[in-house]
Each structure stands twice: as structure tokens, then as C-alpha cells.
């Protein structure tokens, strides 16, 4: 006989785990299906964990979650071919009992989160791919898996199957992902002894440093790179828009190789043993690319709904929050004995609109278009900034006033005065 559940969750990333855990804890019968061998085996993230989103789901997560380091210092670097200019922000205030950002490794983290789902009474089945949504007219009534006897039914299906959701596409919930709305990122983990990580970044115990990087390494493509410290390793990655990769004809791993060889980066990873290489897509279309989020008997959360804040490199927290809000919607409807019809599931959209998820995406809604139209943000400015710093720091007999004039001149020469003013205005509007 076919099985039936209150809810089926597809995917065991942050969005799926948040949804499954929240519903299971509330006593609903929940089935979670994941195609990976264990939760996390297929997942890629930098990865920074933002504590707040998880705290609202598992308040005491710090007791047993596999966290690598808590972030006490953030560096922003703009690279030129040979140099970089940057800022550091480091504060002992980040060494509180409840730090707000951690580096994590997704494989152990997702496994831990999934363990919580099971402990809360959720049924988790891995190595099983959902191939189709079972629909009765427009209404989703279950899922079909790749296994014999694989039809399973539920009152509601939450899609948390990550970027480029084939299921949502197949069911016609959203269209083809556009190359300009998705970034391709590659990353490597380099193993280094704990003491080496600590001394290279001037940190103690579990303190951590993150470096966000822009500039010449992306060859003018819209994209950024990052370097995160873990307990015994360093994660290094770079990502650019898929459409730009296509146009430029450069392979992502070429960028990563160049990044690793850059004089600012090479000494930080020197002697490391490469342990893991991964490539993954990131939905970066922002607010305008968010698809319909619910319908008859279904909701969609996390990356599969395009909920990523590319400007701040936030994704997992939006995923967890959307998963939680979808789950809370189901719980509320069950309590009121209301069916999971589209009008009732509209509460999910309302809750998302009311949360930081949609508010932040709305705030930056013009940014993707501006970056597309203004490639010099990623080519000309990094060079100019580095050259300016170089000019100011060279003690070569030239007076400082003339140096400033040279710098101003170089900016105007590369980009007209009006261009500069326009850029400033557009950026201000897009991020205001």
C-alpha cells in the first residue's frame, strides 16, 4: 500500500532540514527524501553559517553542531594583478559566548542537521531521487521516486531541492534558469595543520578569519572570490556569472588556479594539501528572478526558490528561514484543520515578505541589472584603486598634492567624471 504523510520535503540541505525539523518537532508525520548518499554529500557552500537563522530553529545548536571557527575578522580585498588593497575589521566583541558567524564544512554540518530531523521524529530516506511530482489536475498530491514502488503521497510537498530545481521546472512552476541569473562557483579545501592556520591568520583557539575578494582575478567578469579559515583547513573559491563565463570563454578552474597563484593568496595556502574540489551553481538573479513560491499542495524554499542575497553572500540563512516559514505555514494550517490549498499557502509568501529574506532581496533588486550594464566595476576600479594606493605609498620625491592629482587624473581618464558620478549614484540607489 502506498505511504501517505502530512508533508514530504524534497532535499536535505539547509532549507529542507529546517522545514523537516520544524514540522517533525511539531508532531507532523514528515518524510524527507534526499538523493545524496548522506545529507550533505552533494552540497557546496563557502561556507559561512549565520547563527541567527539556525538559532530560531535550534536555539542550542552551539552545544553539538560541527562548527569550524567563529569569525572575528573580516577582510575585504580588491586585487590587481600583483597587488591588493583592502580593509580589515577585527573585533574582540565577536568572541562572545554566542558568536554570530561561523565557518562550517557542509558535509558534517548537514549530517548533524539531518540527525536532528530524525531525532525529532522525521523519516529521512537518502540515496533516493524524486523524479516527478504526482499531480491531480493542478494539485500536487505526492512524489514519484526512482525506486521500485516509489510513489508516495502527502498533503503538502515542500521543494527544497536546491538551485536549478528540475522538479519545479518539470511541473511548470518556473521556467529555465537564465545564465545571467546564476553564478558558477568553484572551490577547494586545502588542509593545513591547526597551528599553521592559527599563526598565518594571527588567531587563537577557534577564532576565524574570512576574506572576501574582488578585482583582477575575475578578468572583469561579474563575480567575487573568498577565502575562509576552518579548523584544519582553508577554503578558497571563486565564482562569476555563468553568462560572463560563456562570453569570456574562460574556465572556472583557470580563475581558481590564478587566484591560488596570486601573491596575496599563495603564501596563505602554501604547503596545504588539497582535499576537496567542488563546483556549484548559485542563483543570483535576486528579487526579480524569484519564482512563484507556492501553489496547490506545494511550496518552494531555499536555492530552488532563488532566495540568495549575492551582495552579502548569504544563502543558507535564507534557505533555513524560508524552510522554517514554509513548515510553520503547514503547522498553522493543520492546527486550524485547513487544507493546503493555494489560498491558504499564501501565508507562506506573506511571512517571507515580512521577513529579512524578501526585505533584503527587495533592497538590492536593481543591483543585478546595474552590474550587468557596468562591467567596469569589476575591471577598471580594482586596477585604479590599487594604482592609487601604490602612488600614495611610493616615496619617490613627488609631493602628495601632485600624487592626488595623478590619481584623480587616472580615474577620470579611465572613466569620465560623469561616469564616476553616475556609478556612485547607481550603486547608492541599488544598495540604499
Amino acid at each position: 500500500m502506498a505511504e501517505k504523510f502530512d508533508a514530504i520535503v524534497v532535499g536535505a540541505g539547509p532549507a529542507g532540514n529546517a522545514a523537516a525539523y520544524t514540522m517533525a518537532k511539531a508532531g507532523l508525520s514528515v518524510l524527507q527524501l534526499e538523493r545524496g548518499e548522506t545529507p550533505g554529500t552533494k552540497n557546496v557552500q563557502g561556507a559561512i553559517l549565520y547563527a541567527d537563522a539556525l538559532e530560531r530553529i535550534i536555539p542550542d545548536f552551539r552545544d553539538d553542531a560541527p562548527l569550524e571557527r567563529h569569525v572575528i575578522e573580516q577582510r575585504m580585498w580588491v586585487l590587481d594583478e600583483k597587488s591588493f588593497i583592502g580593509t580589515n575589521y577585527r573585533s574582540d566583541a565577536f568572541n562572545s559566548d554566542q558568536p554570530n558567524r561561523y565557518t562550517i564544512l557542509r558535509a558534517p554540518f548537514d549530517k548533524w542537521f539531518s540527525g536532528k530531523v530524525k531525532a525529532a521524529g522525521g523519516l529521512v530516506i537518502c540515496e533516493t531521487t524524486v523524479t516527478d511530482l504526482i499531480q491531480e489536475g493542478k494539485k500536487v498530491i505526492g512524489v514519484r521516486t526512482d525506486r521500485e514502488g516509489g510513489d508516495i503521497y502527502a498533503d503538502v510537498v515542500i521543494l527544497a531541492d536546491g538551485v536549478n530545481s528540475l522538479l519545479a521546472k518539470k511541473a511548470g512552476f518556473h521556467g529555465e534558469l537564465e545564465a545571467k541569473n546564476v553564478a558558477l562557483a568553484v572551490k577547494e579545501i586545502h588542509f593545513l595543520p591547526e597551528e599553521v592556520v592559527q599563526s598565518r591568520f594571527n588567531i587563537k583557539g577557534n577564532e576565524g578569519v574570512v576574506i572576501e575578494i574582488a578585482g583582477a582575478v575575475t578578468h572583469g567578469m561579474v563575480g567575487t572570490a573568498f577565502l575562509y579559515t576552518n579548523k584544519e583547513s582553508i577554503t578558497l573559491g571563486i565564482g562569476c556569472l555563468l553568462s560572463d563565463f560563456k562570453k569570456a570563454g574562460i574556465a572556472p578552474y583557470t580563475l581558481l588556479e590564478e587566484l591560488k597563484a596570486h601573491p596575496a593568496i599563495a603564501p596563505l595556502i602554501e604547503g596545504g594539501e588539497m582535499k576537496e574540489y567542488a563546483a556549484h551553481l548559485i542563483p543570483e538573479g535576486g528579487y526579480k528572478a524569484v519564482p512563484t513560491l507556492y501553489g496547490e499542495g506545494w511550496m518552494i524554499a531555499g536555492d530552488s526558490a532563488g532566495l540568495v542575497n549575492a551582495v552579502h553572500r548569504e544563502g543558507s540563512n535564507l534557505a533555513m528561514t524560508s524552510g522554517r516559514l514554509a513548515a510553520e505555514t503547514v503547522i498553522a494550517l493543520k492546527e486550524m484543520k485547513l487544507p493546503c490549498t493555494a489560498p491558504h499557502l499564501a501565508r507562506y509568501k506573506a511571512a517571507l515578505d515580512d521577513s529579512f529574506v524578501m526585505k533584503d532581496l527587495r533592497k538590492y533588486k536593481e543591483l543585478p541589472d546595474i552590474l550587468h550594464g557596468n562591467p567596469h566595476f569589476f575591471s577598471v576600479y580594482p586596477q585604479l584603486l590599487n594604482r592609487a594606493a601604490h602612488t600614495m605609498l611610493m616615496v619617490d620625491g613627488q609631493d602628495k598634492h601632485s600624487k592626488e592629482k595623478t590619481i584623480r587624473g587616472s580615474f577620470v581618464e579611465q572613466r569620465s567624471l560623469w561616469g564616476l558620478v553616475g556609478d556612485a549614484y547607481r550603486m547608492w540607489r541599488a544598495t540604499r
Partner: protein, 280 residues
């Protein structure tokens, strides 16, 4: 027919790394898998069950986490699983391991007599290939090692015919039941579990047996106490130093060729004789 399959949970050796500084094996974060040889044993047992009916019980001795391996066995279609786990088993070598497993199989047999026991040929972490034979000897089972295929099973006549790989060829052997078979790799392909079995596996509470449940009274034969093996030293073997011999390039082509042949001849006199380089 009742088949017992012994499996061991092992670290996925493909993912083990050696700490570059301390040279120790880093087990942390290395996923645990069913010993690959044992997967062939599970599948072979299931195939016999498909053909002849009966039940398959999968047994492992290990820490509580080893229940993941048994959960997987249920997903493949095993009927029952038993996790033999007790602090008293800790530190067991092959002697103590085969004693504990044999004793447990004897106990299992009291409820459902056992016709066949399967193990893998060897594990990928301990590598000794001693546990299967150790069990067979203790239980008085016919022992068939290095089995690559099962040709026939006659439940009335109580015989089994298998192909066994040996040095230089394949032996076809027939023996009496009950027997113990150690399976070779590559002999079959594990099945893709059905949705029903996935549900059974996800919902299963894995039965745990401690030493008392397994009917083990003599604690001097299990765990560290029952393990005479002593690890005196662990080290990474140095790669064999390959000595390269340099030949001067100041000779002409035939001179160089002769120089090489001379060296070959002095190192491999028989080859040289066969090639007629030197007189017999």
C-alpha cells in the same frame, strides 16, 4: 533455508588521509561503509533467498554506529539484522572476533538453524582474511574460501557447489551443508533497493545483542583479554629505493645497445640464456 551474513563496518579507505605532519591515519570525518567484500556476500545471500526462499540474517560486531551498516543491509532486503555490541568486545583481534561471532551464530541457530554463513574474503582495514575461517572452524562448518560464484544448491541433498578462485585457475567444489563461504570481489552487483525496503530500513530499530544475549560466558576469550595479537609498531613502509644505473652516452648506437644487454644479462642470466645472449 537460513543464511547468516557477517559484515563489518570499515572506514572508506578511498577517503582516508594521512596527517602530513604526524603521519597518523586521520579517521575523523571519514565516512564509514560496509566492507566492500561483504556487499558481495549480502547480494549472493539475497540471490539464494530469491531462488530458494528462506531468510537472511545480517550480523555485525561493532560499536553502536555500526547500526548504519545494518540499516543498509535491511534496505537491500535482509530479513533480520543483529548488532553485536558490548564494551567487553572492545579491542578484539581476529581470534576474539571470530570467537564472538561464532558464539553468536550458534545462538542464532538455536532459534533458526543456520544452513549457510557468508563472510567477505577479507576486510579493507584489517586485511587478514582470518575471521571467516575462524568462524567455520569453531562451528564445524565446511569452509569455502575465495568463492566467485555459486553454481548449485541442493537443499534436499544438502550440498552446495561453488567456483573458487585459486592460484592459476578456478576450482569447482562441492561440499556438504552447513558451510561457510568467503566471497570474492566483483562476483555480483548489489541490487537497487525498493521503496518498501527503504521505508523498512528507515523505520527499523536495530536489535542489539550484548555478550549475555549472545550466550558468551567466558570473558577471557573476548575483547582485549581474548586478543593475543600485539601491535609492536605501526609505520608507513618506505617506497622501495629504485636504483637507476647510468650508462654513458659516449658510445655509438650499437655500443649503447650492447652495454644495456650486458647489464640485463648480468641481472637476469636465465633471460640472457633464452635470448642467446650468453652461451648456456
Amino acid at each position: 533455508m537460513h543464511i547468516v551474513v557477517c559484515i563489518k563496518q570499515v572506514p572508506d579507505s578511498a577517503q582516508i588521509r594521512v596527517h602530513p605532519v604526524t603521519n597518523t591515519i586521520m579517521r575523523q570525518g571519514v565516512p564509514a561503509i560496509i566492507n566492500p567484500f561483504d556487499v558481495f556476500a549480502i547480494e549472493e545471500a539475497l540471490r539464494l533467498k530469491d531462488r530458494f526462499g528462506g531468510r537472511v540474517t545480517v550480523l555485525t560486531m561493532g560499536p553502536p554506529q555500526a547500526e548504519d551498516a545494518l540499516r543498509k543491509a535491511i534496505a537491500y532486503g535482509a530479513d533480520d539484522v543483529i548488532l553485536l555490541t558490548d564494551r567487553a568486545f572492545a579491542g578484539a583481534d581476529t581470534l576474539a572476533t571470530s570467537f564472538a561471532l561464532a558464539q553468536t551464530i550458534r545462538k542464532i541457530g538455536e532459534e533458526h538453524p543456520v544452513d549457510l554463513v557468508f563472510t567477505g574474503k577479507q576486510t579493507i582495514d584489517g586485511d587478514t582474511a582470518q575471521v571467516g575461517p575462524g568462524i567455520a572452524k569453531r562451528l564445524g562448518l565446511q569452509l569455502l574460501t575465495y568463492v566467485s560464484a555459486i553454481d548449485a544448491l541442493d537443499l534436499q541433498g544438502r550440498t552446495i557447489t561453488v567456483q573458487r578462485r585459486s592460484e592459476g585457475g578456478v576450482q569447482v567444489i562441492q561440499t556438504r551443508l552447513p558451510a561457510l563461504i568467503t566471497m570474492l570481489e566483483g562476483s555480483n552487483q548489489i541490487r537497487f533497493a525498493s521503496m518498501d525496503d527503504m521505508f523498512r530500513s528507515a523505520r527499523l530499530t536495530v536489535p542489539q545483542w550484548n555478550k549475555d544475549r549472545a550466550g558468551i560466558e567466558d570473558v577471557s576469550k573476548i575483547g582485549l583479554k581474548g586478543s593475543p595479537t600485539v601491535v609492536s609498531k605501526i609505520f608507513t613502509p618506505k617506497p622501495r629505493a629504485v636504483k637507476a644505473q647510468m650508462i654513458g652516452a659516449d658510445l655509438d648506437a650499437s655500443g649503447t645497445a650492447n652495454a644495456i644487454l650486458d647489464i640485463l644479462g648480468s641481472r637476469h642470466p636465465r633471460l640472457a640464456q633464452e635470448l642467446g645472449l650468453i652461451a648456456p
